[in-house]
Symmetry: C2
Subunit: 126 residues, 2 copies
Amino acid sequence: MSERESTGFLMKQRAFLKLYLITMVEMKKGYALQMLDILQHDFKNLGYRPNHAEIYRSLDDLVEDGILYRVKKLQPNMNSKHKEVVYYHFVSDGGYEAAMRYKANVKTDLDRCIKILRKAVADNYS
Amino acid sequence: MSERESTGFLMKQRAFLKLYLITMVEMKKGYALQMLDILQHDFKNLGYRPNHAEIYRSLDDLVEDGILYRVKKLQPNMNSKHKEVVYYHFVSDGGYEAAMRYKANVKTDLDRCIKILRKAVADNYS
DNA sequence: TCATGAACATCTTGTTCATGG
DNA sequence: CCATGAACAAGATGTTCATGA
């Protein structure tokens, strides 16, 4: 949550995934592995395939940031067996607002990274 | 030198610096710390400040890749003392061609990364 | 088997130290 | 001090293992 100055090179995968997970929680896309499936599908043609551990770590970050909380639910599957899955919601006391601030910060970094990459194209290919 | 499939998230800083260093050797920008100064200056407003260790590691990579070789030269400074500095040149047997192939590969990755970031902007801000 | 994690390993990068002008 | 490295530490991420339903 600390608004640290972006002092490094390109943004970290973790921040990128937290951004997507916030948006997917807004859109109620499901539990962790379902969101992972969607991301793997959507980025397949861009050669990026996130893994499950990083998804869980990102969600855990968002919980520790005070943005999301977990709700365990029983989910019936096709074999009439029940499995417990974890859904995420914005914490009622400022979670959504914190999420929007986080997204705004990441937007700044996305724009910064795009500038760096476009500069590299301009500087090195002529 | 292996043309490995870009399987990860965004590109590594190392590849980014190797790209710039190749271009700067083409343009004869000087020795390592001079090139570092230029990069630090040019990316200052984008919040990116590479450090000297990563520059040396990138140059070492390019030497190990068979693209560059080192030439030590004595450089007089203002105090009439002499210091040995290291300049880099393309190896005569295919070094330049290998450098151009490397640059072409990085270009592909730069474009891929820009697509990923622009997709994130489109997907998460509306 | 799927879903959720933790634990472990590795790879990348940043920081500090060493050497020689 | 500068220039070049090496060595070490820290961080980020990938891989594997554990647990329960």
